[in-house]
């Protein structure tokens, strides 16, 4: 189908003012937050309802046109780059918080609501929406569900998948289905809610999300411990958990990351230390105070060179906000920033940190590592000069080795960012041929014409 003809048919569904075909409009939807991936779509549409989403998908299936759903485009795996052109389906018009129910401990939102807006709406009801990915100020709930976003509270509370109760989903063939719902217990049929969570827009388009909320903890506090290196910090985390404490937050940053974050946020962090561990807990105030004191003590017993506790809630918030901007702050060090998301079983954390340092040195690369120490999730981030193609090649080789090391230690190629186009080449190493084949059969069952996000999962 010609572009103009396709745009005309789409205008018939969503209205002409919500269809874009100008070159400049296509250019801005050619990429997301992932470097090195860019491809222009043929048309961009902004549907205003679930019915419109379903109608667009039905048309796309009839005409075999690729469709790439997109929220804020803040993902880091090129999951929303339209590698095969076609339609970019932007869900930012569907941005209503439909309901926050205190008695039922849940909220119902449209997919274009930002994670922060949902968190704020929950907080206004003295409730907590737990998943808090680093990009929460911009990322959308729909995108979070589609990539099963993680965050800073993984160890104690889990990740997005643990909080999705139900979905409304437009299927590529044009039907609207509802999975799950307002129920904590529901085993009627396969757990499609979980299957769709993390499906990266390859099986269906999420048009409504019902999420579980928890009562807001009475107190939340954080503290900071400094170590000689990441590996020592990793061993201290093991000791903390071994001592029977499950911190709500347990993040670490190496020296490179601390310097970059301090440069932006000016919090007075010690930029001389080799590694920083940001820990926190929530709950009843006296329990939190005791927990933080105990974590600080265990850290000191296990090599911490200094421990400080945040004085108040505002200082805690500042520390967490600074941690969330580690990645963009790191990008100050070079014109190209490539980050990864390797994850290992937590006892392997120290070993993995050492291996990353070794790989970086061997490939002569600047790799800053930060991540979620509590759940073994590391973000080794390579900062380099975009024009240095030889260094870019070396970084690809280094990341190949980092993924290899993660798998060898019983881990995975991505903990929370997703596979997208960026990590698809490594997926076989993680899943094996049989499982990959099963993924393709599942994909075909949902999307017989193969229109949804081609070149990604299930391709």
């Amino acid at each position: 189908m010609e572009r103009a003809q396709l745009a005309g048919r789409l205008a018939g569904i969503v209205g002409a003012e919500h269809v874009r075909t100008a070159e400049g409009e296509l250019e801005v939807y050619a990429r997301d937050a992932t470097p090195l991936f860019r491809h222009r779509p043929d048309v961009v549409v902004f549907p205003g309802s679930a019915a419109e989403v379903a109608a667009v998908l039905k048309l796309a299936t009839e005409q075999s046109v690729p469709v790439v759903p997109r929220g804020a485009g803040s993902n880091l795996a090129a999951a929303t780059v339209p590698l095969h052109g076609g339609i970019v389906l932007v869900l930012t018009r569907l941005a209503q918080i439909l309901e926050v129910s205190g008695p039922e401990l849940l909220a119902r939102v449209q997919p274009g609501v930002s994670t922060k807006a949902l968190a704020d709406a929950a907080a206004a009801h003295d409730l907590l929406y737990v998943p808090d990915p680093g990009s929460q100020v911009v990322s959308t709930v729909g995108g979070n569900v589609a990539t099963c976003a993680g965050g800073l509270r993984g160890l104690k509370y889990g990740v997005t998948r643990n909080y999705v109760l139900g979905l409304e989903v437009a299927l590529p063939t044009g039907e609207l289905i509802r999975t799950g719902g307002r129920l904590w217990k529901d085993v009627a049929g396969y757990d499609l809610t979980r299957l769709l969570t993390g499906s990266e827009g390859t099986l269906g388009v999420i048009t409504e999300v019902t999420v579980a909320l928890v009562p807001k903890p009475a107190a939340t506090r954080t503290g900071v411990a400094y170590f000689a290196d990441l590996a020592t910090a990793g061993r201290a985390v093991d000791a903390v958990i071994g001592a029977g404490i499950t911190p709500a937050t347990c993040e670490f940053l190496d020296r490179t990351c601390v310097a970059a974050v301090e440069d932006y946020a000016h919090l007075g962090l010690d930029t001389e230390a080799g590694a920083l561990l940001l820990f926190g807990d929530d709950g009843a105030p006296d329990v939190v105070a005791a927990s933080l004191a105990r974590i600080g003590q265990v850290c000191t017993e296990h090599g911490a060179t200094g421990v400080t506790l945040a004085e108040d809630v505002a200082a805690s918030e500042e520390l967490l906000a600074a941690r969330r901007c580690s990645l963009p702050a790191l990008s100050r060090l070079g014109s190209l920033t490539i980050l990864e998301d390797a994850t290992v079983p937590r006892p392997m954390l120290a070993e993995m940190a050492d291996r990353i340092a070794d790989i970086a040195a061997r490939h002569r690369l600047t790799i800053g590592t930060f991540g979620h120490a509590g759940d073994g999730n590391l973000h080794p981030t390579c900062v380099l000069d975009a024009h240095d193609t030889e260094a870019v090649e070396r970084s690809h080789a280094a990341f190949g080795e980092i993924f290899g090391a993660a798998i060898e230690l019983g881990g995975t190629i991505t903990g929370e960012h997703g596979v997208g186009a960026a990590k698809l080449p490594y997926l076989r190493r993680r899943l094996g041929d049989d499982q990959l084949a099963l993924l393709r059969r599942i994909k075909a069952a949902f999307d017989p014409a193969g229109i949804l996000n081609p070149g990604k999962l299930g391709s």
Partner: protein, 368 residues
């Protein structure tokens, strides 16, 4: 490769998108092209010849952007968007591609316009020829302020009589820099710096940002920051403003009445580029009951000449702010920039909330 942008500045952006929620035009549309990240993608496409300056989206977005720079303080990567925007418009807005009204406005600001503005400043008492203490800081009178709000400069001089305010100052060039003539704008700032040697105090947030960028923070200081730092009357000794039953301010030291209730609208460039936002709040807390307006740091839509060039978009940006202000039931909405003054005074005409410049309140407190 086109040579429009400084490559180093352009490569700072890693496209994380943290700027999106801070951008007033993205909040209006939800479209990538009208976000800071999207506009930087367009700039990159220009620089790499994937798009050219005649592309309609590129041209439209260069005009739609308010230039408020709210994206800068929230950017962890340190992208200097304001500079990129100036470089973009320098090339984009050449000849007929420059918005017609911008051409008219710049023509008005030419030599003849400046003569008129200088005379106006004299006639309406913004400027003084003899008063002021030798070696005291200079008060910059501003172009827009001399035309629309000469009482702001008069008030500033009432608060600090030592300030020198000669009539012949010229224009700082901020509007030129925002309208596709950044080199000329910088030259004008340097010329103003030569005409007003020593410290320059300005009551205009927009001018302060442009002048500071060119002359440095040791030469240029915005009025509220200057007063808060103790250069005028001791901030601790400021008298509170009380209102009578008719809502009019009572004379200083009068008892009775009620404390005036203030909100503040930040000046975007003062807040986002100069980093001054605590200071006016500090002063207002001393003058009466201070209430934080939701999104006070977000642009009111005035944005330099934007409200003149794009009145409909300007009103759309302002609309949610008006609703928030109405809810607060303020006596005074305080501004620190003449553009915001005009925008909000127009929108709040007939409302019980009066729009005033902080200098006017300080003068009121001092008994002027």
């Amino acid at each position: 490769m086109a040579d429009i942008f400084d490559d180093e500045l352009l490569s700072r952006c890693m496209s994380c998108g943290f700027c999106l929620p801070s951008c007033p035009t993205y909040r209006l549309t939800g479209e990538e092209a009208s976000s800071p990240r999207g506009r930087i993608t367009l700039m990159r496409a220009l620089q790499d010849d994937r798009l050219d300056v005649t592309d309609p989206t590129v041209l439209a977005q260069s005009e739609f952007c308010l230039g408020c720079r709210a994206c800068e303080p929230v950017c962890p990567a340190g992208v200097q968007y304001g500079q990129l925007l100036e470089q973009w418009r320098d090339t984009e807005w050449r000849g007929r591609r420059r918005p017609l009204l911008a051409r008219v406005l710049m023509a008005m600001m030419s030599w003849f316009g400046m003569v008129g503005i200088t005379l106006l400043g004299l006639l309406r008492g913004a400027a003084v020829t003899r008063r002021g203490t030798p070696d005291a800081p200079h008060l910059m009178l501003g172009c827009v302020e001399r035309v629309l709000y000469p009482r702001v400069s008069r008030s500033a001089r009432r608060v600090v009589p030592a300030l020198r305010a000669p009539a012949v100052q010229g224009c700082c060039g901020a509007l030129h820099a925002h309208n596709g003539e950044s080199e000329r704008g910088r030259a004008m700032a340097r010329r103003l710096g030569r005409r007003l040697p020593g410290t320059i105090v300005t009551t205009s947030g927009g001018c302060s940002a442009h002048l500071t960028a060119e002359l440095g923070t040791d030469r240029v200081v915005e009025f509220s920051a200057w007063i808060a730092a103790g250069n005028g009357p001791d901030p601790a000794s400021l008298r509170q403003i009380r209102l009578g039953e008719d809502g009019k301010p009572l004379p200083p030291n009068a008892s009775g009445g009620r404390l005036a209730r203030f909100g503040l609208q930040d000046s975007c460039h003062l807040r986002n580029a100069v980093g001054v936002w605590r200071e006016p709040r500090e002063l207002l807390r001393r003058l009466g009951e201070y209430v934080e307006v939701p999104d006070a740091g977000g642009c009111c839509g005035a944005a330099g000449s934007y409200s003149v060039l794009r009145p409909a978009d300007s009103r759309a940006v302002l609309a949610p702010k008006l609703a928030a202000i109405a809810d607060l039931d303020l006596d005074y909405l305080v501004v620190v920039n003449p553009g915001c003054y005009r925008q909000l005074a127009g929108a709040l005409r007939g409302s019980r909330t009066r729009v005033v410049h902080l200098a006017e309140l300080l003068a009121l407190s001092a008994g002027g």
